[in-house]
Symmetry: C2
Subunit: 145 residues, 2 copies
């Protein structure tokens, strides 16, 4: 039974991710946003008029997950969708004024959560951790099963 969960990278990562999500949720809920909506907005704030497929690629979630997130964002008045001019299967996603107005406060909220999390780390530690986490992401991606 040489499996100590507190020394398991997967276990600890899961715990940390849930804590990040809880804190982010608490800070952006007053803005009317949920975490996955915020993540999607991060991409759209860089430029809207994207298709669902493009968002799916850039945010590394499954197509079905993105479809549901976009449906909730439309329901909540964060996006509008228009027919794709060249492809009748696709739609383009556009930000509403409401979504544009949330960019600064939402980014500030996310930034403050990151700052809180990093409060106990030394200067270069954060960059080092990010580098190693990205290395793990590379090792795990495109290797399902």
């Amino acid at each position: 039974m040489p499996f100590e969960k507190n020394a398991s990278m997967g276990f600890v990562t899961n715990r940390l991710a849930r804590l990040f999500a809880q804190h982010l949720h608490a800070r952006i809920a007053p803005l009317g946003l949920a975490p996955a909506q915020f993540m999607t907005l991060l991409e759209l704030w860089e430029g809207d008029g994207l298709t669902q497929a493009e968002l799916t690629d850039r945010l590394d979630v499954e197509q079905a997950t993105m479809a549901n997130t976009l449906a909730r964002m439309k329901r909540d008045g964060l996006i509008e969708r228009t027919p794709h001019p060249q492809d009748r299967r696709a739609q383009l996603v556009w930000l509403t004024d409401k979504a544009r107005s949330l960019e600064q406060p939402a980014k500030q909220a996310a930034h403050s959560v990151n700052q809180l999390a990093l409060a106990g780390l030394e200067g270069g530690d954060a960059a080092q951790v990010l580098g190693h986490m990205n290395a793990m992401i590379e090792s795990l991606r495109d290797k399902p099963g």
Copy 2:
């Protein structure tokens, strides 16, 4: 808009946690286990006869989450529950033989996922990352909102 998601600890942690969960799921699904069930078994394999409240404390999930996970584990024949001898509100959770038989293969599956993730890191990097992640967990826990 100085918010680069690939440099955001929360964003990267979320991505990595989902990858861990996907790989773990792929490897333990053949055993009839889901990730949260495996996590709960990790605690019960160390000693069963625990209450739901004790499991909730040790695994850092909400009470309602644990209630649902235990309901699915009972449905799947992984646990049995008996009345608490001193407290009529509580029940004790016991492993079935089936759950006991899964300890080695399930732990092996989780171990192999961790190994895959860590493949690109140097010797001491994993311990260092774990240390920093635990520091972030400490900074975020018990500070809801």
